[in-house]
């Protein structure tokens, strides 16, 4: 025993001393091992932290730990959205209350949030529509003789505004002429603009305002589409339950949706990115890039592009300016720029031609002096949104919801991914999705009663429908045509709700209605656009849908598409999924539970991709390391052939040689691998404390906040040491085999005499 110990001692001594004897080899091998171990620890911790960050972001912003949806769905659930804008084909879970009850029997379930995710096209304010509607309102007051001096001033200002829009339009036409074939432009359209801008038209306006307005609305407004269609993705949910379950959520502007009220909360990101005046948004982006990321307009191509766009695209601002505002802007900009230019468009263009020296000054000037006269947001908090969505059966369904405010998630304020989803009450969601809500079923029942609806056979349907009852004729639709294109429908602003209601309430006969309570998905679009008349249905339709209060119990009792499940112990996801699936089976519910990662779709797959990339990277690095280390060891072994031969000659068995070389490898692995791990851990600790700043907005999601704080996982330390030992073991195999084959004769072969 003592002898063995001494033998080990001598092997260790030879092995250890050899590290110093062949310093180059030790430096190469040790350097690689140190670097490799360090890399595994640092990169491993980085990826782990990113994965954990993404998990926090995904779990905390919409997915929850587990998502549950119907197993009868054709497509998989993707709460974060896939590549296409098309919503996945999901079967509904008809009775959320029952689903919730079943889910809550699973011990690890903390809370369940009802959900449905869909996308909608939302027409956002078209300036000329709004201006004309406002003008029509003022004309009406003028005609009724109930005008205040303020109204008179507003009337003149709005006329000036429309005139300003017409000038912009005329400019557009002139530009278009230069770019396109003359024939491509409709001569009638150009003639209409020319007519509208002529002094004669405006001289006639005061005398015959309604006809003039109609001309503007029918011939000019369609040419002056300035607003983009917003495509909004929204999650219909129980707002209160959502806020409780996702505690990073906070309301930024306005308030949350009150209990029992229909309502819409914009994601702050969407609100800023898509609803805000584009010029202002670009100024914000330039400022953020300059202040937070130290970028320069002079060197950054994206910032240069923003400046160029701001300078070229002043039309959006110009359309907002009525006569007094135009004068005000001219005055302010002339003073600011020291220019005598009279054209406000040119003044704005040169004002937005910013560089690194004047940017901060112009930014402040814009917000202090110009912005107060502008609508910075196309949709304001308090406005009512008309959301038009395709139902499952393909009809366009439309619902009015007031915008209560904006929200974001703490730490994810700047993330486009976390900010992609807006929030809506579940009841409105069900309407839009084509579910028959309890409220709607009741309404339809009343409608049927009031209209003496009865079963009619297919054979005599025509006679029954058109032969006996006259359809109510719609009022001439004013600003908002009901037919497609959707883009012409203006947003319903708070101030023109009354006006808008008539537009929305135009006549389309009620579609055939399925028996309530039987088929949860309405075949058509029940109750949309109820008819004019004196019946209960018409009365209901005239009520402001948005003011209607629903029973909070409805949130629970109706259908949902999916549900987010928050767990008590988030480490037990697989077990809980199994338990949920089993509970669903037992209760006869078609429940399918999936992890947050699956539910998040494409983004969740990136977690896997990250880990796969890391694995491949580590594999490649260590394969290369293996080859280099093996080579270095072979060289070192060849240099030691005589020593090894001598040891063999004086009586060392092959296993002694093997042990010696393996021990040498282990000593190198332990010393340098250990050093690498310690160094790596130190780096992770230090960097973890400071945090890696998110390089761009997208990374906020992966970092789950503005900075990624690396977390040192023991797993990575163990993995690094394990890999180091495996690699050194493997790489010393070949040299060890060579060494074992060294013939003791070689000891004798020195300078053969």
């Amino acid at each position: 025993m003592e002898g063995r110990f001494a033998t080990f001692g001598i092997i260790a001594k030879i092995a250890f001393r050899n590290l110093f004897a062949s310093r180059l080899k030790t430096a190469i091998v040790g350097g690689i091992i140190l670097g490799g171990a360090l890399l595994v620890v640092v990169v491993g911790s980085f990826v782990d932290s990113v994965v954990a960050g993404m998990r926090r972001s995904i779990v905390g912003s919409v997915a929850g730990d587990i998502q549950v949806y119907s197993s009868q769905s054709k497509d998989p659930l993707e709460v974060m959205g896939g590549f296409s804008l098309e919503a996945p084909d999901l079967a509904s879970l008809d009775d959320f209350a029952r689903v919730k009850q079943v889910l809550e029997t699973v011990p690890n379930v903390k809370s369940v949030v009802p959900m449905g995710i869909n996308g909608a096209i939302v027409p956002s304010g078209n300036t000329i529509d709004v201006a004309l509607a406002h003008l029509r309102d003022l004309v009406r007051r003028k005609l009724s003789g109930k005008t205040t001096p303020d109204d008179v001033a507003a009337y003149e200002a709005e006329k000036g505004h429309v005139h300003q829009i017409l000038s912009v339009l005329q400019g557009d036409i002139k530009n278009a002429r230069q770019l396109q074939d003359e024939k491509a432009l409709s001569p009638e359209d150009a003639a209409a603009v020319n007519k509208a801008i002529s002094p004669a038209f405006w001289a006639d306006f005061d005398k015959n305002p309604l006809d003039s307005l109609e001309f503007l609305e029918n011939r000019i407004a369609p040419q002056a589409i300035d607003a983009d269609m917003l495509f909004l993705r929204y999650v219909g949910t129980d707002p209160a339950a959502f806020a409780r379950a996702f505690d990073r959520m906070k309301v930024v502007d306005g308030t949350t949706i009150p209990e029992g009220k229909r309502g819409f909360l914009f994601s702050k990101f969407v609100y800023e990115d898509q609803v805000k005046l584009k010029t202002a948004r670009r100024l914000d982006k330039i400022r953020t890039a300059r202040n937070e990321r130290g970028e320069k307009i002079a060197t950054d191509t994206e910032l240069k592009r923003f400046v160029r766009e701001n300078s070229n695209q002043v039309r959006e601002i110009m359309l907002q300016l009525d006569a007094p505002k135009t004068a005000l802007f001219r005055d302010k900009l002339q003073k600011k720029l020291g220019s005598s230019e009279a054209d406000v468009a040119k003044l704005l263009s040169s004002f937005f031609q910013t560089d690194d020296l004047n940017f901060d000054d112009r930014y402040d000037f814009f917000y202090k002096e110009l912005a107060p006269s502008l609508e910075l947001y196309r949709i304001r908090i308090g406005d009512t949104l008309t959301i038009k969505a395709f139902t499952r059966s393909g009809y366009v369904q439309s619902v009015n919801v007031p915008v209560y405010g904006t929200f974001d998630f703490t730490g994810l304020e700047k993330s486009p991914q976390a900010g992609a989803l807006n929030l809506m009450d579940m009841v409105s969601f069900r309407d839009l999705y084509g579910f028959l809500t309890a409220e709607r079923a009741k309404e339809i029942g009343e409608l049927k009663k009031a209209m003496n609806a009865r079963e009619i056979s297919r054979d005599n349907a025509e006679a029954e429908l058109f032969g006996t009852k006259e359809l109510a004729q719609p009022e001439p639709a004013p600003a908002a045509p009901l037919t497609l294109p959707l883009a012409t429908g203006p947003a319903k602003r708070g101030h023109d709700n009354g006006h808008q209601k008539k537009g929305a309430a135009a006549a389309v006969p009620p579609a055939p209605v399925p028996a309530p309570g039987r088929n949860i998905v309405a075949e058509a679009t029940p109750g949309l656009n109820p008819p004019q008349g004196e019946g209960v249905g018409a009365k209901l339709a005239r009520e402001e849908l948005v003011k209607r209060v629903y029973d909070p119990a409805q949130l629970e009792s109706g259908a949902v598409l999916n549900a987010a499940v928050i767990l008590k112990d988030e480490s037990k996801i697989p077990q809980t999924i199994a338990a949920i699936n089993a509970a669903g089976k037992q209760a006869g519910l078609p429940l399918k539970a999936i992890t947050w990662q699956e539910a998040s779709g494409f983004i969740g797959q990136m977690v896997v991709a990250f880990q796969a990339v890391l694995l491949v990277l580590v594999l490649i690095i260590f394969l290369v390391a293996l080859v280099i280390i093996s080579n270095a060891l072979v060289m070192a072994t060849l240099q030691r052939v005589q020593e090894i031969g001598t040891l063999r000659a004086v009586g060392a068995q092959r296993r002694f040689i093997l042990a010696m070389l393996v021990l040498e490898g282990l000593v190198v692995a332990a010393v340098f691998g250990g050093a690498g791990v310690v160094l790596g851990a130190l780096i992770v600790k230090v960097v973890g404390k400071i945090g890696i700043p998110a390089p761009n907005d997208v990374s906020y999601f992966f970092f789950s906040g503005p900075r990624l704080h690396l977390v040192l996982g023991t797993g990575n330390l163990v993995a690094a040491l394990f890999i180091v030992f495996v690699v050194s073991g493997l790489s010393s195999l070949y040299p060890a085999w060579l060494a074992m084959r060294v013939n003791p004769r070689t000891a004798m072969q020195a300078e053969e005499g």
Binding site: G3, K13, A21, R654, N743, P744, M748, G753
Partner: protein
């Protein structure tokens, strides 16, 4: 006198690419215990090959090599290694010390491989032997801190530390100046006489042969003759071995 080494019609061929090079072409040799035998011959005569066979670091292509009564062709690689460890000591032309070990550790190494003695016994034996070869002062030194002669003394101590029956020395003085070489030979001779250890060494140095009890001459892989040292010197084996006159 008991025979320690018996070589009977041993041949050894080396494959050099596709060509087979005969290094030994049927050599017979008997070495008795206690001899101080020199193997002489010019370069390529087969001295080292014969020593390799006797030293059990190689086995003959044909014929028999018996060391301490064991037919080396019948032994496994491990058994050959054990035979070397326990029966034979080696002294190399270029000393072949383990550079990273101290003088003491180099000498102690075979004892460690043998695993027969405990630490105190090993230390006692190593220190006694180092004193014997005159290196008591250098016990902690590394080989690189020693002169050539001192290194060869360490090698001799290492060869003798297991008290082998046979010590093989391949041109032990070739890398040493003549005075040092003389001292080394004196030491070997002295050990041969006091310890009764058999020494077989190859050389082509006449002064070295002068110490030998007998000189075996080889040429072209064949046994030429076996002379007393005086006869060998007289025959001028340090010069080219007589090509003619060999029968």
């Amino acid at each position: 006198m008991k025979t320690i080494v018996a070589v009977k019609n041993a041949t050894k061929n080396y494959a050099l690419g596709k060509v087979t090079v005969p290094a030994l072409r049927g050599v017979d040799l008997e070495v008795a215990e206690g001899e101080f035998l020199s193997i002489a011959g010019p370069s390529g005569s087969g001295k080292t090959t014969l020593l390799n066979l006797i030293g059990c670091v190689d086995t003959p292509t044909s014929g028999i090599v018996e060391v301490a009564g064991k037919d080396t062709r019948k032994l496994s690689e491990r058994q050959l290694t054990d035979l070397r460890l326990n029966t034979i000591g080696f002294i190399f032309q270029s000393f072949n010390l383990v550079q990273v070990l101290s003088v003491f550790q180099n000498v102690e190494l075979p004892l460690l491989l043998q695993k027969k003695l405990n630490g105190a016994q090993r230390a006692e034996r190593v220190e006694a032997l180092l004193k014997r070869v005159g290196l008591s002062e250098h016990i902690r030194h590394r080989p690189s801190e020693l002169s050539g002669g001192q290194r060869q003394r360490v090698a001799i101590a290492r060869a003798l530390v297991t008290r082998p029956q046979l010590v093989l020395a391949d041109e032990p003085t070739a890398n040493l100046d003549s005075v040092t070489g003389q001292n080394i030979l004196d030491l070997m001779k002295e050990l041969n006489q006091t310890e009764k250890t058999t020494f077989i060494f190859s050389t082509h140095d006449a002064r070295v042969m002068a110490h030998a009890s007998s000189v075996v001459r080889l040429a072209d892989g064949k046994f030429v003759d076996r002379l007393s040292s005086a006869e060998a010197i007289a025959a001028g084996v340090n010069r080219k071995a007589p090509a003619a006159g060999v029968s």
